[in-house]
């Protein structure tokens, strides 16, 4: 039973990893990565690492991948041309690939081949891989990484806000986002300015923001979502 599950999970992991690399559509690539991570979690479970297995699902599938999906949606999934990357980037990626191959090669030749016939240690304690054991390790051997992690999370929070602000602005007063349904309408749709023909909404462009350049009227940041109509043509 273990063997069957191992091969199912292992093959799924490899296929999905290949899919992540080769699929052109970024959304499918992300989904492929999700499948890959789920298979990895299965492999962790087969190694008796219960806690790691379930955390793998919680953090990677539950959080990281949702983040990727949102980023995908944010940049407009599927329609973006691929970035080729410059020659230096290409060299860099080759270097990383070679390093990875060498590392894996050492691991396989060094210990992997010997372990092929073995069945692992026989006396795995019942508590192996349980949250309690991990907790003990975190509080003794890996105390510093544990505390460093909290600091890292703080830095990441700050970084997320700063990056988001630099990209398109999320802070009050910088640019104004509108209600969810407005996102789907072309800029200026439904306003009185459109009614009198003052603006021509561009069809197809799901522009989320009302910017001065499109002429839909600049709005104070504190204004509510119905601001369009109240502005009228009185600029």
């Amino acid at each position: 039973m273990d063997e069957i599950l191992f091969f199912v999970a292992g093959i799924a992991a490899i296929v999905a990893a290949a899919g992540t690399v080769f699929l052109r559509n970024p959304f499918y690539a992300v989904l492929s990565l999700v499948v890959h991570l789920l298979s990895l979690s299965m492999l962790f479970l087969l190694l008796y690492a219960q806690f790691v297995a379930v955390v793998q699902v919680m953090v990677y599938v539950g959080a990281v991948m949702v983040l990727y999906v949102f980023v995908n949606a944010y940049v407009g999934g599927g329609s973006e041309p691929e970035g080729g990357g410059g020659p230096s980037l290409r060299m860099f990626s080759y270097a990383i690939a070679i390093t990875l191959i060498v590392t894996i090669g050492i691991a396989v030749l060094g210990t992997g081949l010997q372990a092929i016939d073995g069945s692992g240690p026989d006396d795995i304690p019942a508590s192996f891989g349980s949250p309690g054991e991990i907790g003990k390790l975190l509080l003794t051997k890996f105390l510093l990484p544990f505390e460093a992690a909290s600091f890292l999370l703080l830095v990441a929070a700050i970084g997320a806000v700063v990056l988001a602000r630099r990209r398109r602005g999320v802070l009050p007063g910088e640019e104004r986002m509108v209600a969810a349904l407005d996102l789907l309408a072309p800029t200026g749709t439904g306003s009185m300015r459109e009614g009198v023909g003052a603006i021509n909404p561009t069809p197809g462009g799901f522009s989320a923001r009302i910017t001065p350049s499109t002429g839909a009227g600049t709005l104070p940041a504190s204004d509510d979502r119905t601001g369009d109509d109240s502005e009228g043509g009185s600029r």
Binding site: G62, V66, V69, S127
Partner: protein
């Protein structure tokens, strides 16, 4: 404590023979699956009463066959897929939702001491593991993909909006949900659900009392996680038609429905396990073991009724209110609750 097996099974790493496990799993699956039409009917009946009407009462006695009629109707509809939909994702999405929902059902412990059934000791749960609670979270994380993919692959603006809203809502409340249970875990010193109930059994005190804040946060966050009113923003009928399932019909729609009601049952059972002492009957220590599953089910029914009651009472939240409630009230409150619990536990 007479025998070793009186405690929770996970403590002694006990696993039944494989055939017992299979029978057990089949039985629990059958129970879990057949609870869906019952709860469906119960909700419609109760909602009807809340609104001063009888609810379904034409099909069968007191409308008892209504869910079956509904499912039959759904299964005999025409297969439909909108033109732009991404075929295999469109099919897989409701399946993921339903599988992820049902997979949390075996985690619920129905009895403490294993029961003697036909000569073998059987623990009345599908799975009792050191990481039981985390498995619950993991599957609800997977479940959010059912919604996300369903909305994405439909290529309808309502579906898409519902899905994006839904995913953001689910992850917003999942953090608070996880943090709210830290107090329970700290007090118990284990993530195994049957040990959590056992602890309440030994203390003679349900966690609802010492962890009242945690219980409140968990309850509210769970409402949001299972998309119940007032947090049903992702299928907000009045503005999004049907949210992420706008384009679904027939059996696929039924799957989303099954997922929703399994979620409802599991939410009730989880709350009664974590905070209402599971199979524990207060002030009655020598309760016979065969009562345990019924006690759990009764408590579950109470919580489910409360959730339905809330649905009949409260209007839907606005989306920005929903988000700020999750992040600005529930999350800090849950963090503080964890901190205070830790301090109290260590100080005592």
């Amino acid at each position: 404590m007479t025998s070793v097996l009186a405690g929770p099974l996970s403590a002694i790493n006990y696993a039944e023979p494989w055939y017992v496990q299979i029978i057990k799993a089949l039985l629990i699956f059958a129970i879990g699956f057949s609870l869906v039409p019952l709860v469906l009917l119960y909700e419609r009946k109760l909602l009807g009463r809340f609104q001063g009407r009888p609810g379904p009462n034409r099909v069968g006695i007191y409308g008892s066959m209504q869910p079956l009629a509904d499912i039959g109707k759904l299964l005999f509809k025409e297969q439909f897929k909108p033109r732009g939909a991404i075929g295999w994702l469109f099919i897989a999405a409701p399946l993921i939702s339903m599988v992820a929902a049902l997979a949390t059902f075996p985690l619920i412990p129905f009895s403490g001491a294993p029961q003697e059934i036909l000569g073998t000791k059987v623990g009345l749960y599908g799975l009792d593991s050191d990481i039981g609670l985390l498995i619950f979270f993991a599957f609800s994380a997977i479940g959010s993909y059912g919604i996300l993919l369903g909305g994405w692959s439909s290529t309808s603006k309502y579906s898409f909006l519902g899905a994006m809203r839904g995913a953001a809502q689910l992850i917003s409340y999942e953090a608070a949900q996880g943090l709210a249970l830290l107090g329970v875990v700290m007090t118990t010193g284990s993530l195994s659900l049957s040990e959590i109930v056992d602890k309440q059994d030994h203390m003679g005190l349900w966690f609802l009392v010492p962890q009242i804040v945690g219980a409140f946060i968990f309850f509210v966050a769970t409402l949001a996680e299972i998309n119940r009113t007032p947090f049903d923003l992702l299928e907000a009928d009045s503005e999004l038609v049907g949210g992420f399932m706008t384009e679904y019909g027939g059996g696929r729609f039924a799957l989303y429905y099954v997922a929703e009601y399994v979620h409802l049952v599991v939410a009730g059972a989880m709350f009664s396990t974590l905070f209402l002492g599971g199979w524990n009957i207060p002030f009655w220590n020598g309760a016979p073991g065969f009562l345990d599953p019924f006690v759990v089910l009764a408590k579950t029914l109470v919580i489910v009724s409360i959730i339905i009651w809330i649905r009949a009472t409260l209007p839907r939240l606005r989306y920005d209110q929903l988000m700020s409630f999750g992040w600005k009230i529930l999350l800090p409150l849950a963090t503080l609750n964890a901190l205070v619990t830790a301090i109290v536990l260590v100080a005592l």
